[in-house]
């Protein structure tokens, strides 16, 4: 009997497309709330991305009670506690996060405190600690990459204990993710490229790692197709609203895929590199993706070959012999990285980043072995294996 078994869960209402922001007032009222706290960061405000959200709410008769716009790139328990204090003092009843991964994770953590009570966020760290639904929570992503709007995890730094607190619960999932092309229209080229590669990595690892399943596969392949079709179009013409929306949808779909099938060695190495060398997550994903696929090749030949259809299109797929499709898929990813390098100098190797020293590689490899993602990598990774991948990625 087949041992196949999987779980798939995504209760997030996805509100996507033209004038999606204008649906926020109706969606809030549908949940019986009307005093939202908006959580964002200074970059989002400076880029003018709050205006369309505020306008949409004001015009729809929805008051935003207060705005917290000082979420730092690496949010901490202090920040979360402060925002929870504002939520309580202003008697808010819901949360809207507008931003990238940090703002969204911070809002998820704030939702824990304001729903469960208390100020000690660490009491809720870990998996499955939360046992009841939290306050109504909406997310408006401003990058097309992290997929945080559809994931059930958040990571917040406990600066006093110098540790990162992970939170995992399906109750962290927002009630709605609002995907509006206006929110990513002004994303600078290098961030567009890095976050696009982040989403591509989510989808690729979701499709090739151990917990892949038919439902996550469907999301992953659709995401890869959208990214391979539209990423370079957006790089050529950043104001292409249709392609911006396709990328934002792809990011959400890749997020749904990987949050239901997990990721592998690319993420393990990426998390370790981010922690040690402070490189952005999306860039790390782009750096390692082809090298890890080459390392895993013999265990993922079949799904990776299948992915060529979505990565390069039906003509290339049909004209490539079945036993060469996996290699061709890696080659297509390399070509995409080369094109992004031509567009915005997105580094393709660790050396090209100029921020990684060769003597840091062993530390990165050791840290990667302790990263949860490595459990789901199709191959068992030893220290020597991780070092070999890193040396190839060095360039």
């Amino acid at each position: 009997m087949s041992q196949r078994y999987y779980e798939f869960f995504c209760p997030v209402k996805v509100i996507a497309g033209k004038a999606a922001l204008e649906h926020i007032p109706y969606e809030l009222s549908g949940l019986g709330v009307g005093r939202p706290l908006l959580i964002t960061d200074k970059g989002v405000r400076a880029a003018g991305l709050l205006e369309p959200v505020l306008e949409a709410c004001e015009e729809g008769g929805q008051e935003i009670v207060t705005i917290y716009d000082d979420v730092p790139p690496d949010s901490s328990t202090h920040v979360v506690k402060d925002i929870a204090g504002i939520y309580r003092s202003e008697q808010c009843d819901s949360i809207i996060a507008v931003g990238g991964g940090s703002a969204i994770d911070t809002a998820k953590a704030v939702n824990i405190l304001v729903s469960e009570g208390g100020d000690d966020l660490s009491a809720y760290a870990g998996a499955g600690v939360l046992t009841s639904p939290l306050k109504p929570f909406f997310v408006v992503p401003t990058t097309a990459g992290t997929g945080s709007e559809v994931t059930s995890v958040a990571v917040i730094a406990d600066t006093e204990k110098s540790v990162k607190l992970p939170f995992t619960s399906s109750f962290l999932l927002p009630d709605a993710a609002i995907i509006d092309p206006r929110m990513t229209l002004t994303l600078p080229p290098h961030i567009t490229a890095a976050t696009g590669m982040d989403a591509l990595t989510h989808a690729t690892e979701a499709f090739t790692c151990m917990a892949k399943n038919p439902l996550s596969d469907a999301y992953a392949t659709a995401a890869v197709k959208k990214i391979s079709t539209h990423l370079l179009k957006v790089m050529d013409n950043p104001k292409n609203t249709d392609s911006r929306l396709e990328l934002a949808e792809a990011s959400t779909m890749a997020g749904i895929a990987f949050s239901n099938s997990m990721v592998g060695l690319v993420h393990a190495l990426g998390h370790a590199t981010g922690a040690i060398c402070h490189l952005p997550h999306g860039l790390c994903m782009s750096l390692y993706l082809p090298y890890v696929l080459e390392y895993n090749l013999e265990t993922i030949r079949e799904p990776l070959g299948e992915l060529l259809l979505y990565m390069a299109g039906p003509d290339v797929y049909a004209t490539t012999p079945a036993n060469r499709r996996a290699e061709e898929c890696i080659s297509a990813i390399r070509k995409l990285r080369d094109a992004l390098y031509q567009h915005c100098k997105l580094p393709r190797t660790l050396q090209e980043t100029g921020k990684v020293e060769q003597d840091q590689l062993e530390r990165i490899a050791r840290l990667a072995l302790d990263d949860g993602s490595i459990m789901f990598n199709p191959r068992e990774v030893t220290l020597d294996d991780a070092m070999a991948v890193l040396k190839r990625a060095w360039g």
Binding site: Q3, Y6, M210, A211, M262, D371, G372, M375, F376, E380
Partner: protein, 182 residues
Amino acid sequence: MLAKPLRPMALQARRLYVELMFQVMGRALQGISEVDQAARDEARELPEGFLFEMMVRPNGPSLVVEHLGGGRFHYHGDNPPRPVDLSIQFKHIAHAFLVVSFQEKTSEAFAHDRMLVDGDISYALRMTRILNRLEVFILPKLVASRAVKEYPANLKLPQKVLSAARIYLKVATQFFDTARAS
């Protein structure tokens, strides 16, 4: 007609098998930490006094080992002397049976959401690597290949046989000591 009355017996046998395997694994974890340098190196990173539990939810069989320091483990049976630091929990006895009867790899059990980790994930990975190493030593290659993601290519037969013999001897000695004490 015969199948129905036999069903409870089969379930009981399954439970007893899981209990027995947990006892063997607990003792073998202590054993491998005494005979294998690589397992000790892996365990050395755990805090001294670190308590690891593997159990079946909600009140099923369990094993508890403590890191004494220097990479050495002590098997505590199924009773932790204090709250454990890391617990790997099977959601159901049927899921534990799939793993300890080597029908499903530990990594597959994680991927299939059959197991939960309560505690630091990096320590859980470390313990899983030690369990994998234990399995490749004490199981025949054909069975071990079903239990771990990848059978280590560099493990030679003499090392495997010698290590397995030493671990089994320690497991048998512990069973004997336990029986004599009770």
